[in-house]
């Protein structure tokens, strides 16, 4: 049995490029697959948010090919915007997308563990997105219960349009998403635990990897509980059980007679047990990246590096214990409210430690203000702007006034949505030379993109704090046609409404600049040097770490990341083997 003859027998004609891409189990293709999912979702999500804002500012505006936006259309927009953005953009892109693209290289591995399982995770997530987008097409339209789908509204088609087939489609999509996400997290955890290269000890693992690691640790329990909750809700809808339906519930003059005495609060508990870790899953990779990028461009080691590892883990652990702060006024026992408030305020401590470290690392460092650095600094600014209001809403007595107002909308859009998006932009600008075979994004366009995005982010989301303090509730299909006192209450903020709408549209349009930059750079020749940012982490090693090739030598890590001389003029990358005289003592 000679080798050539075996090769002849076993290797058929190479399939078409598209077929190969679709059946690929290469982590790079899978990572780009996840980013494609997020890109589709973010385009839809942004357009939906524009429609919402335009409708709120000009209620009589008619959507071409559709007509006026009815209240049920508005709630469908709210639901789909939230689901697309939180599930398929903010979770998928930083965690699974950049996780697959960069994580193996950062720990010196040339692959992810279980490649076929990894591909299965990506395709399951893709199926989730496709199913979700189908919700626009089913009879009755998309669900109207919001991304949180509180029962009994989400339990029966009696409760409103979109609660029939639309809600079923939503549940299917979320189940697929939960399964895909869990698979991806298991692959990622195994990769981090088992596939680190020689010398890549836990002490030498970069903070980005700690972010992905902690987020994956959260995904496994949180998404499993979400899957169970979705399954139970499905039983309530179609199999006559009553896990979430109270006894003798009358919806739309029809008695919903299911067996048992359920409680809608049970869904809230299960959903938020998933929902709160979920927002940390969205932000933890960004936090890690921000630490590393600020350190890199400041040419300094991350300030209090080991404390940053501890705070990442602490945020993850506490994140599992604070779900009740979404339920202060939802019928939770007031004593439980106090307990959850204490746990929620406790999270502010590690989060503050992170902010202090970011400030100290960049303080008077004369950093190189490249575009990725600017986005990392923008992340810090948004994190503070959103985090400070988080302390306010963590106090139940204040949440009593602010719950479900635009204050909350402003809070999570700044700290999770926009900070998360800034993390994604930072990642794109920073790693683009690796992802696009040595091409760089234009720095000039990138800076314009950053400043305009920052400006319009604040223009859009800061006024939401004020309109929320003024009492404007979330998810109101229109702010006109209300009764006289409500009209008087909300009339004070009409100007803010136009402000927010204008900001949102400008914020979306600014991203065309980014797209233009992306397209232009992809057509440009590759000019970037091997390590254009003078980075210290393994993905920049000259051996082409992102290229999956078994024939290249396995690298080894010799140092901790962020190893710079004190004046910032030179640095020691992790892959550089030490001279005998400069062996680092750890």
């Amino acid at each position: 049995m000679s080798a050539p003859s075996q090769r002849l027998r076993t290797s058929p004609a190479r399939p078409h490029r598209i077929v190969r891409a679709l059946t690929s189990t290469n982590h790079r293709n899978i990572g780009f697959g996840y980013l494609t999912i997020s890109t589709i979702a973010v385009i839809f999500g942004t357009i939906l948010s524009w429609l919402m804002r335009i409708h709120l500012s000009w209620p009589d505006w008619k959507l071409p090919l559709h007509g006026p936006i009815l209240p049920e259309d508005y709630l469908a927009l709210v639901t789909m915007h939230g689901t697309l953005m939180l599930f398929f953009v903010l979770t998928v892109a930083p965690q699974s997308g950049f996780g697959n693209l960069i994580l193996p290289a950062q720990i010196g591995a040339r692959r992810m563990a279980f490649p076929r399982l990894n591909a299965l995770g990506m395709w399951t997530t893709a199926a989730g997105l496709i199913v979700l987008l189908c919700a626009f097409l089913v009879p009755g339209g998309s669900p109207i219960a919001g991304w949180t789908s509180y029962p009994p509204l989400s339990v029966t088609s009696l409760a409103g349009p979109g609660e029939g087939a639309g809600q079923d489609v939503w549940l299917t999509s979320i189940a697929l998403f939960a399964i895909g996400g869990t698979i991806s997290a298991v692959v990622m955890l195994t990769t981090i635990v088992k596939l680190r290269c020689a010398g890549m000890t836990w002490r030498r693992v970069p903070l980005t990897v700690w972010g992905w690691f902690t987020a994956s640790l959260l995904v496994v329990p949180a998404f499993s509980v979400l899957l169970a909750a979705v399954l139970l809700l499905f039983c309530d809808r179609h199999l006559g059980s009553a896990f979430f339906i109270p006894h003798a519930d009358v919806i739309n003059s029809t008695l919903v007679s299911h067996h048992g005495t359920g409680s809608p609060l049970l869904w809230l508990h299960l959903f938020w047990f998933f929902g709160h870790p979920e927002v940390y899953i969205a932000i933890l990779p960004g936090m890690g990246l921000t630490s590393m990028v600020i350190a890199n461009f400041s040419r300094r080691r991350v300030f209090a590096y080991r404390l940053m590892i501890a705070t990442t883990l602490a945020i993850g652990l506490l994140g599992l214990l604070v779900w009740g702060h979404h339920m202060f006024v939802a019928g939770l026992n007031p004593f439980a409210g106090t307990a959850f408030a204490a746990a929620s305020l406790a999270i502010a401590v590690p989060a503050t430690a992170k902010v202090l470290s970011w400030l100290a690392t960049s303080w008077r460092a004369r950093p190189w203000l490249s575009t990725p650095m600017l986005f990392a600094l923008g992340f810090v600014s948004l994190f503070i702007a959103g985090g400070l209001s988080g302390i306010i809403v963590a106090q139940p007595i204040l949440d009593e006034y602010l719950h479900n107002t635009f204050f909350i909308v402003g809070h999570f859009h700044l700290i999770m949505a926009m900070a998360g998006v800034f993390g994604l932009f930072c990642a794109t600008y920073y790693w683009f030379p690796l992802l696009a075979h040595g091409r760089m994004l234009s720095e000039r366009l990138g800076k314009w993109h950053f400043w305009l995005t920052l400006l319009f982010t604040y223009t859009t989301f800061l006024p939401m704090y004020f309109s929320g303090l003024g009492g404007e509730p979330r998810r109101y299909a229109q702010l006109t046609g209300l009764n006289a006192p409500a009209q008087a209450l909300l009339a004070a903020h009409t100007v803010l409404q136009f402000h927010i709408t204008g900001g949102a549209i400008a914020l979306g349009l600014t991203q065309l600049l980014f797209l233009f930059n992306l397209v232009r750079s992809l057509r440009a020749p590759s000019i970037a040097p091997d390590n254009p940012w003078s980075a210290t982490t393994m993905e920049w090693a000259p051996q082409g770490m992102l290229e999956p090739s078994p024939d290249l030598p396995s690298p080894a890590a010799y140092h901790r990341p962020c190893h710079y001389t004190d004046d910032g003029s030179s640095f020691t990358p992790q892959w550089e083997s030490p001279q005998p005289s400069t062996v680092e003592q750890e």
Binding site: R20, A198, A229, H259, T261, G262
Partner: protein
């Protein structure tokens, strides 16, 4: 070990790289004996205990599969914990009826006694699975195989895994009998809150066992077809640990259904 002792049936040249199988040429077979333990401390100044795992030794893939399985089972456990916590909530929740009386309409579902038999079958199947798993790691057999004296490990494991498969199928058939018995008594999914859980829990567990049976079939196929010892070891080991986990889970769920209602 001089490589001249390596029999041709075991030695495998590295296959041309497939996109899905990146850098996974080193299975351990044909290089080091399959019982190789991690070595180190050769005085080269390298701190082995502080070095994470590279691709070293035949146990590497095995431990990777175990770590992956551990995390996946953690998620699975949370899934069942969520179901069981809802079980306890539903069991104790009550409502006021039209006469302001507090009504708790939880009626315990009578558990068919065949479930005791099923439990015993599942326990025996786990024992068989464990024998199969251990036989994959018996050092004398491994060395025999490495020297080219047939495949004693796989032959033995295949027998015991087939027994596991048969007992597993028997368990599922037994569960089916239990469902039909209950259905004959008109205890269906939507009869009562407790019957929701009976069906939910047993069906969810059965779905997991179906996955386990699929894994057993895969492992048996690999035992017959795969020439790489490490692949066979990983397949049998992961399948059996999964099987044990499902067995333990069943005992917990069964005790819950039998005594927890």
């Amino acid at each position: 070990m001089p490589t001249i002792l390596t029999p041709p049936g075991i030695y495998q040249p590295r296959r041309p790289g497939r996109p899905g199988d990146l850098g996974e040429g080193d299975s351990g077979s044909g290089r080091r004996p399959p019982t190789d333990k991690r070595t180190g401390g050769n005085g080269d100044g390298d701190n082995w205990s502080d070095r994470p795992q590279g691709r070293r030794g035949p146990r590497e893939r095995l431990s990777r599969a175990r770590v992956g399985l551990f995390f996946a089972l953690g998620g699975d456990l949370m899934f069942f914990i969520a179901l069981v916590s809802v079980f306890f909530v539903a069991k104790t929740s009550s409502h006021f009826d039209a006469y302001s009386r507090l009504i708790n309409d939880w009626l315990p579902t009578a558990i068919p006694s065949i479930l005791w038999l099923n439990t015993a079958v599942l326990l025996v199947s786990s024992v068989c699975a464990e024998i199969a798993r251990r036989s994959m790691f018996r050092e004398t057999d491994l060395m025999d195989e490495w020297f080219g004296f047939g495949r004693p490990t796989s032959r033995r494991a295949a027998i015991w895994l087939s027994a596991t498969l048969a007992l597993g199928a028997l368990f599922l058939a037994g569960q089916w009998v239990a469902w039909t018995q209950l259905a004959a008594q008109h205890v269906l999914f939507n009869s009562n809150a407790s019957s929701h859980f009976f069906y939910l829990i047993t069906v969810a567990h059965a779905a997991h066992l179906f996955l386990g049976i699929a894994a057993l079939v895969t492992a048996l196929t690999l035992l017959a077809r795969s020439r790489q010892l490490a692949t066979r070891q990983v397949a049998v080991d992961a399948t059996v640990w999964y099987w044990h986990a499902m067995g333990l889970l069943w005992i917990f769920l069964f005790v819950l259904l039998e005594y927890g209602q």
